[in-house]
């Protein structure tokens, strides 16, 4: 009977973008079980709905996380608009999709850099973040902010993109795509990366379904699950297929994210071609009364918002269940039986966004 030791992983670790604590129970360098522990960034943001009016809560929702900021704003606005039975203009829906897909490209390129850093490939990490800077410049040009955009509001969007700027941005995106192709080639074909990530942290299709995996984690195991197929916003007018892989290991998750960047660029081109003319916002009259659950696809997976209003300007309840929160049970399952040296690669493969997890 070999001796069991417990090693703490986190809350500070070079591979983690945000603090999470895992107690790893080891038998001779093989992890037997992992016990997660969250709560380092619990700010109680959901309670702020009682103190900030529902129009100000968009600002709070956007600041739950820095990487997934845009889509948190879109989800909250969508939930409140459904409660108030507001129909927002078509141009606003298309613009939200435009910025949402750009946000997805930014998040995936950021993840690719972090994942390369996790296995020690620092030059690839620096080049990925160099390509990310080109995307952040587009954000700053159109919304005014690099990370927090402040562009969503209940009733539409606050800013507009005129035609000449849109044409210029599409040209910049072709440059981004050319630069990105060189990186994607390394991620897909490089010997070191394939060797470090293949057959590590395997999650079968049945386990992914039972444990409630969402996002690229689920799609890499063969589950067809993409909330954009629900057709919210402008997605009902756009054409796309979810990116699916079947291997279920860390390499498959990386492949799903690499291919989703191409899918997002294609969706942005469709939006630029189909962008209708018109208003960008609708006046908000009255207060929300009622409740609604809305599901939106973030770069990390399915996020569900619950908004309940009671007829005053303060909401009764605002609840966010983020994808990383749902991906913790699959993480605990994947860590059982792996080597200690593979733990950072597995943890980064679920794309942990812990500020979202404990808002």
């Amino acid at each position: 009977m070999s001796k069991r030791t417990i090693i703490p992983f986190g809350p500070q670790h070079p591979v983690l973008p945000e603090p999470i604590h895992l107690d790893l129970v080891l038998e001779d360098e093989v992890v037997v079980e992992a016990i997660p522990n969250v709560g380092f960034i619990h700010r109680g943001l959901e309670l702020l709905c009682k103190r900030k009016s529902f129009t100000d809560m968009v600002l709070v929702a956007e600041r739950i996380c820095g990487i997934c900021s845009m889509i948190h704003g879109v989800g909250f606005c969508q939930a409140t608009e459904e409660v108030m039975k507001l129909e927002i203009p078509k141009r606003a829906e298309f613009l939200r999709v435009f910025w949402g897909e750009l946000s997805r490209i930014h998040s995936h390129i950021l993840w690719l850099g972090l994942a390369a850093d996790a296995i020690g490939f620092e030059s690839l990490f620096m080049h990925s973040w160099r390509v990310r800077e080109l995307v952040l410049d587009i954000f700053e040009e159109t919304t005014g902010g690099r990370i927090i955009f402040d562009v969503c509001k209940v009733g539409g969007v606050k800013k507009d993109i005129d035609d000449s700027t849109l044409q210029r941005i599409m040209k910049q995106l072709t440059e981004v795509e050319t630069e990105y192709k060189k990186l994607a080639d390394v991620f897909i074909n490089d010997y070191t990366i394939v060797h470090r990530w293949a057959n590590i942290g395997t999650l079968s299709k049945e386990d992914a379904h039972v444990l409630g995996a969402v996002g690229p984690c689920a799609r890499a195991s063969g589950l067809v699950q993409d909330m954009r197929q629900l057709g919210y916003g402008a997605y009902k007018n756009l054409d796309f297929e979810p990116v699916i892989e079947t291997a279920g290991d860390c390499y498959a998750r990386a492949l799903v994210r690499v291919k989703e960047v191409y899918q997002a660029l294609d969706l942005m081109r469709q939006v630029a071609n189909k962008l209708p003319k018109g208003e960008t916002e609708v006046k908000v009259v009255g207060f929300p009364e009622g409740e609604f659950f809305t599901r939106v696809e973030q770069p990390r997976g399915e996020v569900i918002y619950y908004v309940k209003g009671n007829g005053t300007k303060f909401l009764e309840r605002f609840r966010v269940r983020t994808p990383t929160f749902a991906n913790i049970p699959p993480l605990v399952h994947m860590l059982a039986g792996c080597d200690l040296a593979d733990v950072p690669a597995i943890v980064i493969a679920i794309d942990p966004c812990i500020s979202c997890t404990e808002r």
């Binding site: 030059s123 080049h127 410049d137 700053e140 159109t142 902010g145 402040d150 990186l183 490089d190 010997y191």
Partner: protein
Amino acid sequence: MSDFLKMSKTVIEWVCKKPFCKMYPVVPGKVYDKTRGCVMNDASKCTLCTLCDKKCPTGAIKVDRTGGTWEINHFQCIMCNECVTNCRPGSLTMENKHAAPAAKKEVLSMNVELKKPTPKPAPKAEETKAAKKTDTKTKTKPASKAEKKPEQTKAKKIKSKKDEKQ
């Protein structure tokens, strides 16, 4: 073998190029027209209506009507643009340069002098009064007496206007 050298092309390309990183703060950062940098107030246009104080979600702007001050804490401001959109006299603007970093959190305070509502002819009467006072000193008595009369009538006119207003 080629699988090992996938990255080498990019590495060699960037060894020969100029570095992508800029020498900030020696080279200033790139800003665009829409960049949300910091909120500035034009004291000459501000009317201390306190709308920005009420709309600010973080409480970064504090307006004191009686004291005549408008304060902003740039470190608390989240650049959400609510104050600028709701500013009635149009004195608030969102600059595209960011507020300078500092060792301590400072509050930027400015005194706003509210323009007192004065009728339009009043400045002219004052100017003519001042001009005529200097003139009366040098001129002879009968001329000064004749000039005093129109002044008195003008002064009476001003008083009556003030009475009307009150």
